[in-house]
């Protein structure tokens, strides 16, 4: 069935179809309609979940942790300052190896208040141990949320998963989305089974004081799971493709085969960049696109082209564009652009211009340093 709806409503629909036992969420622009729609599902009886109307995002994440710790599948959604408030508990969820699934609607950080798209909120959570997906369309939002449960809950992984997408650009834009039948989703997802849980018949304690050496091992185990996740994400993406006709990998490669230059970016910008690639190709330029689907784990193995143009909608003050900074650059020509922060509109023509600048050996803050 094809549904035309906003990214937020599609995220809510996907969450509903994954049948979480517990949802705990707090409204924040531009995520609010996710929470509203889920509340509606629960109150109308369409979704049999406990919906906890928490008093803050910190509590939203904590409630999900509590619920997951007794063996429940959970969901939450947030954005921007809400995500920043959760930061402490993001670490907690990941170190506790609880496969919570969360949607983050990317929005800039204040002050001053800015409600428009900017990926700095979620990219700043890169070290928390969450798997991060970035979507470029409402279809991907849906598909990523469903796959997130399967990936996070995989016994080789057991990490929480964040699905990110641009505020307003996707969250409030209606697009067609192919929605599978509930039975198909049920069949695709396994019944949730946690590997550890608080159980009166086996009264373990979770999270008491851990001495240095075992702590090191716990951290190492997270890293192993993240590395393993690369494999599992592609396995699950392939199975998803077999079932639903849309296959996914860590990245999406677009017209890269004979490319001299490859654009590297993610989220809505990556969709816009396809148009730029097509137009530039039409004019005889050999250019391709790598759309990062996951930011954590970081898919280094796909970023192997000689000349790459990285477009970041986020930056680390004192360092530069974040994806750009994480690239392995040995022997490669890599150009980094910072563009579209705080919702500055970037279209395919802007991306074409960035290509032209890169060809001249220029890069930097688009619209300020290069214009």
């Amino acid at each position: 069935m094809i549904v035309v709806d906003t990214g937020n409503h599609i995220a809510a629909l996907a969450a509903k179809m994954a049948k979480p036992h517990v949802i705990a969420a707090y409204p924040i622009t531009p995520q609010t309609t996710v929470v509203e729609r889920l509340a509606q599902y629960v109150e109308s009886g369409e979704l049999n979940s406990e919906f906890i109307r928490v008093e803050s995002e910190h509590s939203a994440m904590t409630a999900c942790i509590g619920a997951a710790a007794v063996g429940a599948r959970t969901f939450t959604a947030t954005s921007s300052h809400g995500l920043l408030l959760m930061h402490e508990m993001l670490h907690w969820a990941a170190l506790a190896r609880l496969p919570i699934v969360m949607v983050n609607v990317n929005r800039a950080i204040g002050p001053g208040w800015n409600i428009w798209s900017d990926l700095n909120d979620s990219m700043a959570q890169r070290d928390t141990g969450w798997i991060q997906f970035y979507a470029s369309s409402n279809q991907e939002i849906f598909d990523n949320v469903i796959q997130a449960y399967k990936i996070g809950e995989d016994e080789r992984i057991r990490l929480p998963v964040m699905i990110c997408y641009d505020g307003f650009i996707l969250s409030h834009t209606s697009m067609p989305v192919e929605v599978p039948k509930q039975e198909e989703i049920d069949d695709f997802l396994n019944e949730y089974k946690s590997t550890w849980q608080l159980d009166i018949n086996n009264p373990i304690t979770h999270g008491n004081i851990v001495p240095p050496e075992p702590y090191l091992e716990i951290r190492y185990s997270m890293e192993k799971a993240m590395k393993e996740a690369k494999k599992v994400i592609e396995e699950v993406g392939e199975e998803f493709g077999r079932k639903f006709g849309r296959e996914y990998r860590l990245v999406e490669e677009y017209r890269c085969d004979d490319a001299d230059y490859v654009i590297v970016t993610m989220s809505a910008l990556a969709a816009e960049a396809k148009i730029a690639v097509d137009r530039l190709r039409d004019k005889g330029n050999r250019i391709g696109l790598i759309k990062l689907r996951t930011y954590r784990p970081f898919p280094h193995e796909y970023l192997k082209y000689d000349k790459m143009i990285v477009i970041d909608r986020a930056f680390s003050p004192g360092l530069g564009g974040i994806i750009y900074s994480e690239m392995e650059m040995d022997g490669k020509e890599v150009y980094g652009f910072i563009a579209g922060l705080g919702g500055v509109d970037i279209n395919y023509k802007d991306i074409e211009k960035m290509y032209e600048y890169a060809k001249k050996g220029k890069d930097g803050w688009y619209g300020i340093e290069v214009k």
């Binding site: 304690t205 008491n208 716990i218």
Partner: protein, 83 residues
């Protein structure tokens, strides 16, 4: 498989034999004991159990002296433990 996370298993003596922490040792004089069980209920270290009379577990008693202080008949005395 339980992945590595901070899971801990209930264990007696998780901090070892805490009786070694003691400087003063409670000694019960049964003749004075009226079996009110105040020593039992107030022991933070679960080191006093209820038999016919209170039984002190010196392996775990940390020697705080609450039992002696709370005993209504002074049936428990704290004595310096030589080491």
């Amino acid at each position: 498989m339980i992945e590595k996370t901070a899971i801990s298993i209930p264990t007696e003596g998780a901090m070892g034999k805490t009786g070694t922490w003691r400087v003063f040792k409670p000694i019960l004089n049964k003749e004075k004991c009226v079996r009110c069980w105040r020593c039992w209920v107030f022991c933070p270290d679960l080191a006093i159990s209820r038999g016919d009379y209170p039984v002190i577990d010196y392996e775990y008693c940390k020697g705080c002296g609450i039992c002696a202080n709370e005993c209504p008949t002074n049936a428990i005395k704290m004595e310096r433990e030589e080491k």
